[in-house]
């Protein structure tokens, strides 16, 4: 489904705010390619520069250095209304003085479509977002989710080559957000338009994206598929930001992972290229807790019941804390209580060896 053609080429883009000594580098040499027809997500905590990058593609921010190309053609110097991209704004930014259909028709009118051509497109987009009965309403008469759909229809109406979505779901409540996630994915499939989605919600990113770019403090941390990002985080930041992670210091020797007083595990580490001290990341769901059995020795420090699962915070015998997730599938009582001595075993390949700080991307 994902083509190999590059839709957007972000070529070592920098963004400087302010000048001279006080200049802040909001984007630091970002280089990435967004492919045609893919659902691409820019993910990062607030202030990481993801929205700035999106606004640069839309044309609302200048590029301080580097270049952004759309199908090979540089966008530098092109004003927002000269770019074949449309944005779904975080606040929706629906025109309050226009009806739903007038909002959707706006972009078509601006691009010089004839009224007779506009009507069927508007009707089609209304159907696409399942709002056919709402054409004559005004934005303030709609719920948040409906406004969101109008914003989508409005941005899709002029058939942009790329659709930019700026934290577009963050204003919705959880249940609606989940619905809209599925909806967005469907729209992207049906329209075949390249979606660039900005979010700080890692779960949202994993659910919807074909590929994700993780950003932090103006730097690109990792680009890859959701599986790449989750299973093979490039560095500590990515491992920490995406999902739950315990970070452990261990020794790799003869195919064994040693944790001092806690004992050792024979499980495979993904990267065994060299022996010695290793910074390790491990997901709580890839560890197993038992009262009597093999594994690292530790004591339960805390138990957090979460319905679907229970998370045990275990203090290992060598002093390092680690989290273990246990799915509550059997409905049985808790495996252990606070203060119980337990063993922590690991699934094959559970431990991911992180690059040393100096090798971070």
């Amino acid at each position: 489904m994902t083509g190999n053609r590059v839709a957007i080429e972000i070529d070592h883009v920098c963004k400087r705010f302010g000048a001279g000594e006080q200049a802040v580098l909001a984007l630091d040499h970002i280089a990435l390619d967004i492919r045609e027809n893919e659902f691409f997500t820019l993910l990062g905590p607030s202030g990481c520069g993801k929205t700035t990058l999106l606004r640069m593609i839309a044309g609302f921010e200048d590029v301080s250095a580097g270049d952004i190309r759309l199908y090979g053609a540089s966008l530098t110097g092109k004003l927002p209304f000269q770019r074949p991209v449309n944005t779904v704004f975080q606040s929706y930014a629906l025109f309050p003085h226009l009806t739903v259909e007038e909002n959707i028709a706006f972009g078509l009118e601006m691009r010089g479509f004839k009224p007779t051509d506009i009507k069927p497109i508007v009707a089609e987009k209304l159907e696409l977002v399942k709002l056919s009965g709402f054409a004559r309403r005004r934005p303030h008469q709609l719920s948040g989710g409906q406004q969101q759909r109008v914003a989508l229809a409005r941005a899709l109406a002029p058939s942009p080559r790329v659709l930019l979505l700026d934290e577009s779901l963050s204003a919705l409540d959880l249940k609606l957000r989940k619905e809209m996630q599925v909806e967005l994915k469907r729209l992207q499939r049906e329209t075949g338009i390249t979606f660039v989605f900005v979010t700080h919600d890692q779960e949202e990113a994993l659910t919807m994206s074909d590929r994700i770019a993780v950003m932090s403090a103006g730097k690109l941390q990792q680009v890859g598929s959701p599986e790449d990002i989750y299973d093979r985080p490039a560095n500590r930041f990515v491992a920490d930001f995406i999902g739950e992670t315990s970070f452990l210091q261990g020794q790799v020797a003869e195919g064994q992972l040693q944790f001092g007083a806690a004992g050792s595990l024979s499980c495979q580490v993904l990267d065994q290229s060299h022996d010695g001290a290793a910074a390790l990341a491990v997901r709580p769901e890839r560890l197993q807790l038992s009262v009597s059995g093999s594994g690292l020795a530790g004591v339960v420090a805390e138990v957090v019941y979460r319905g679907v699962d229970t998370v045990y915070l275990v203090q290992l015998a060598d002093g390092q804390p680690c989290r273990v997730r246990h799915t509550n599938d059997s409905g049985a009582s808790r495996l252990a209580r606070v203060g119980d001595a337990v063993r922590v075993a690991a699934l094959p390949g559970a431990f991911h060896r992180l690059q040393e700080a100096g090798h971070d991307a």
């Binding site: 839309a58 044309g59 944005t87 704004f89 930014a93 025109f95 309050p96 003085h97 005004r138």
Partner: protein
């Protein structure tokens, strides 16, 4: 909505000062004026309280000849027409200057905006009468503008602008410009500029974004500004008196004359009522034409 007796009493008490003020200083004088306009004038000003007459309204359109026959007289209609045109002209010109000014201010940073708004309101610190006299000094023959123009060789002879409708128009635009800028600025200042970004994003150039998004959303401010300029301008008294030199009479001067030298109070009262009717008509048409978007 039903209210319990206690809350109803409280509400009436809270509204009492406003109600009383409006009754005493607006409704009562208006009733008095309406009554007066239907009475006959007394010889030395004032009215004959017991003598009903429609003459004041007849006089507006007709002249009573010596043989008591009525002939049409358009003098007063012309004065109304001139007032309407001058006030309308002032409204259009202040709008053309005021809207870009307000937009310019609204697009500045917070601090600069406050400074600029202060500059706009500085003229209010001096009495308008004094400022109008200053305009007389500027506009008169041999005044600053006249002498500068001849010194630069840009004019032959005298300027001859003081005591003309042009001078009155200049005075109107100068005096009422802040009343246009401030309401428009207020509506632009609270506007969501992300909507303009959305318009750009959807392919609107600057002109289209202005026409299709900014102007409609600023409409409440524009309507308010136009009414705030038009209404005081059409009834204004001393600007045409001083700058027009009593030669280009406006409604305000005409009314003043009736209560002063002409000693025809009923006619003055009738004129006031017709001015009120004219203003209400304009307001009605205007607000109907430019209704606020619902939900604003």
């Amino acid at each position: 909505m039903t209210l319990d007796p206690y809350r109803r009493t409280r509400r009436r008490l809270l509204l009492a000062p406003t109600t009383l003020t409006l009754l005493l200083f607006m409704v009562l004088p208006m009733l008095l004026m309406g009554w007066m306009s239907l009475l006959a004038p007394d010889t030395y000003g004032g009215v004959r309280w017991k003598e009903w007459s429609l003459d004041a309204y007849v006089q507006f359109l007709y002249e009573r000849d010596l043989d008591d026959s009525l002939t049409l007289n358009s003098d007063y209609l012309q004065i109304f027409g001139r007032s309407f045109l001058l006030a309308g002209f002032a409204t259009v010109v202040t709008l053309l200057i005021g809207f870009p000014t307000a937009l310019y201010i609204a697009l500045k940073e917070e601090k600069t905006r406050q400074r600029l708004i202060l500059l706009i309101s500085i003229p209010f610190w001096t009495n308008l009468l004094v400022r109008t006299y200053a305009w007389m000094l500027l506009l008169r023959n041999g005044g600053l503008i006249d002498s500068s123009l001849s010194a630069l060789g840009l004019s032959q002879g005298t300027l001859d602008v003081l005591y003309t409708p042009t001078a009155v128009a200049i005075g109107f635009v100068y005096s009422f410009l802040p009343f246009m800028v401030l309401p428009i600025y207020t509506s632009l200042e609270k506007m969501d500029w992300r909507l303009v970004e959305a318009a750009f994003d959807l392919g609107a150039n600057r002109w289209l974004a202005l026409r299709r998004v900014i102007l409609p959303l600023a409409m409440p401010g524009i309507v308010a500004g136009c009414l705030l300029v038009f209404i005081p301008a059409i009834g204004s008294y001393f600007i045409p008196e001083l700058l027009g030199g009593g030669k280009s009479l406006m409604i305000g001067n005409l009314i003043q004359n009736q209560f002063g030298t002409a000693r025809n109070w009923p006619f003055g009262a009738a004129l006031s009522f017709m001015l009120l009717a004219l203003v209400l008509l304009v307001m009605w048409i205007y607000t109907r034409r430019f209704q606020r978007p619902p939900g604003e």
